[in-house]
């Protein structure tokens, strides 16, 4: 069996005195799409913040391509080929749509993603490229945020709640576009509240509950009962 591309062992995370993660173990294979589900406050976003270097954890807890990335700054993690589509899009309001994309590519990694290929994936962004990013609708902002992450030509992309606050039709559009992104050998971790959407695009699924992994399994075999038990913690 090949080595996992990302492996997390015993990850603990704190916000001051508050402990958010209590020893998470997780592994992700090359090209695999992994979904993380769980209730609000279960630690999903904290997990992604830890992987992406926005939160610092002790050394030895997160390994990416045999490299210990647990103590790295966010910009250093980004250079190793990990990109994050943050919760709530978080585009730069002072920048135009195109500037947001350009800044995503600034890290200078080579690959097939560039302005042209992002515009091909999301043609509406090309139309709106000169406008301030604040003038986009929620769905368009999500597209720009995904495009911004792709511009870095990542090998592992992290999606944090990409359907949050969007209309169902928009969510469908975005999920329809996902295979075109992660079908190219890219690995992905998708944090999602919408369980059926999460299961439909992923190979395996982890459920978090109060900072611990309460369930892990293959997305196509895991049962609804198991999920609700792991989700709510009721027997």
């Amino acid at each position: 069996m090949p080595d996992p591309v990302l492996s997390i062992t015993g990850l603990k995370a704190h916000y001051g005195d508050f402990q958010a993660l209590y020893g998470i173990d997780l592994s992700l294979m090359q090209g695999e799409v992994l979904a993380i589900i769980g209730a609000n406050g279960a630690g999903k976003t904290t997990l992604l913040r830890s992987i992406s270097g926005m939160m610092h954890n002790g050394p030895g807890q997160i390994t990416y391509r045999n490299q210990d990335i647990g103590g790295m700054r966010a910009d250093q993690v980004a250079k190793t080929g990990i990109a994050l589509v943050p919760e709530g899009r978080q585009l730069f309001p002072s920048l135009s749509v195109e500037e947001n994309l350009i800044i995503g590519g600034q890290i200078g990694r080579k690959g097939s993603w560039n302005l042209g290929s992002v515009y091909k994936l999301f043609p509406i962004l090309k139309e709106r490229r000169a406008l301030p990013s604040t003038s986009l609708s929620g769905g368009q902002q999500q597209m720009a945020a995904i495009g911004r992450a792709l511009m870095a030509n990542p090998e592992l992309i992290l999606f944090d709640e990409i359907s949050l606050g969007l209309a169902p039709i928009i969510i469908k559009d975005i999920y329809d576009a996902l295979p075109g992104i992660i079908g190219k050998g890219m690995s992905a971790v998708i944090v999602e509240q919408d369980i059926s959407k999460a299961l439909s695009v992923s190979a395996s699924v982890y459920c978090l509950q109060e900072g611990r992994v309460s369930l892990k399994g293959a997305s196509d075999t895991v049962s609804r009962e198991d999920i609700s038990r792991a989700y709510f913690g009721i027997e």
Binding site: A74, L84, F92, L95, I107
Partner: protein, 287 residues
């Protein structure tokens, strides 16, 4: 005619104040830092100019070629070495640390250059003037105003049309996400301070050519720059130029009534505008 003359002279003086203000405005825009030592840095630049002109016998404007990079380097070093550690949600550390810096620069200058007033010698440029419609306009004030306009335009252009400006805006918007994009905020802040102090170098040299200076005048220059920023409206560089002009005009008109009233009438104009338009005359408009 005398009043018109005061008006025009005040406008040109406003160019100098806009230069005092531009650096202040820039670093506030990028990192929300208000640098109490800003005025002392202007005076430091004037003294560096003095050292360069007296030791190398250069014209003050040529000395800029050395003083601007020197000030930029100081800016980068101070930002990375000290000021970056003060940035955060708490207002006190940056304020008190820059206040401490102000006292250090002031007394360091006293130690090196003594309290004697100094002036930069720009030769014929100081007295040259051109006659425009019956008014005699000094070449130096005209040049200062022209430089101010060019600097404001240049900063505006840098902000909105270069990769550096994009990085400034991105870091200013959201430091954490910018870091994810590979922008190291401490480095970007260092660059912003370097740029701000390069502008400060210009302001310091032009100040030193125009009037005599001593180590104690930094506070006053900070206040003029600050008033120009607030009058113009926070975050608006062209507004800052307008603010400088309004302050300059208020001062020359005040001086026309009574020489003792020059600085005071500038302050009063500032307080009046603050009373009527607390957000300044031209509050931030998205560019």
């Amino acid at each position: 005619m005398e009043w018109l003359n005061a008006l025009v002279q005040g406008t040109l003086l406003g160019g100098l104040y806009a230069l005092f203000a531009a650096g202040l405005s820039l670093i506030f825009g990028v990192m929300r830092l208000v640098n109490i030592a800003h005025g002392d840095l202007i005076v430091l630049a004037a003294y560096l100019g003095l050292s360069v002109t007296t030791t190398l016998g250069l014209h003050p404007l040529l000395a800029l070629l050395m003083v601007m990079p020197a000030m930029a380097a100081i800016g980068y070093a101070v930002q990375r070495g000290v000021l970056n550690q003060t940035l955060g949600d708490d207002l006190l550390p940056p304020l008190l640390v820059t206040f401490g810096l102000s006292v250090i620069i002031q007394n360091g200058l006293l130690e090196v250059y003594t309290a004697d007033p100094q002036k930069l010698n720009a030769g014929a440029l100081e007295t040259a003037s051109v006659a425009v419609g019956g008014l005699s306009l000094g070449l130096l004030p005209l040049l200062t105003f022209g430089i101010a306009v060019a600097v404001i335009w240049g900063l505006q252009w840098t902000f909105y049309h270069t990769a550096l400006g994009r990085a400034f805006r991105a870091v200013s918007d959201n430091q954490d996400i910018a870091q994810l994009m590979g922008l190291i905020r401490h480095h970007i802040f260092g660059l912003a301070m370097a740029l701000a102090l390069a502008v400060t170098a210009l302001a310091g040299i032009l100040l030193g050519v125009r009037t005599s200076f001593d180590p104690s005048i930094g506070g006053g220059r900070l206040i003029f720059g600050f008033e120009a920023v607030i009058i113009g409206g926070l975050g608006n560089l062209w507004g800052t130029l307008a603010g400088g002009v309004i302050l300059g005009v208020a001062q020359t008109l005040g001086a026309k009534i009574d020489p003792g009233w020059q600085v005071l009438s500038g302050h009063i104009a500032f307080l009046l505008i603050l009373a009527v338009r607390p957000n300044g005359l031209f509050p931030r408009i998205s560019a």
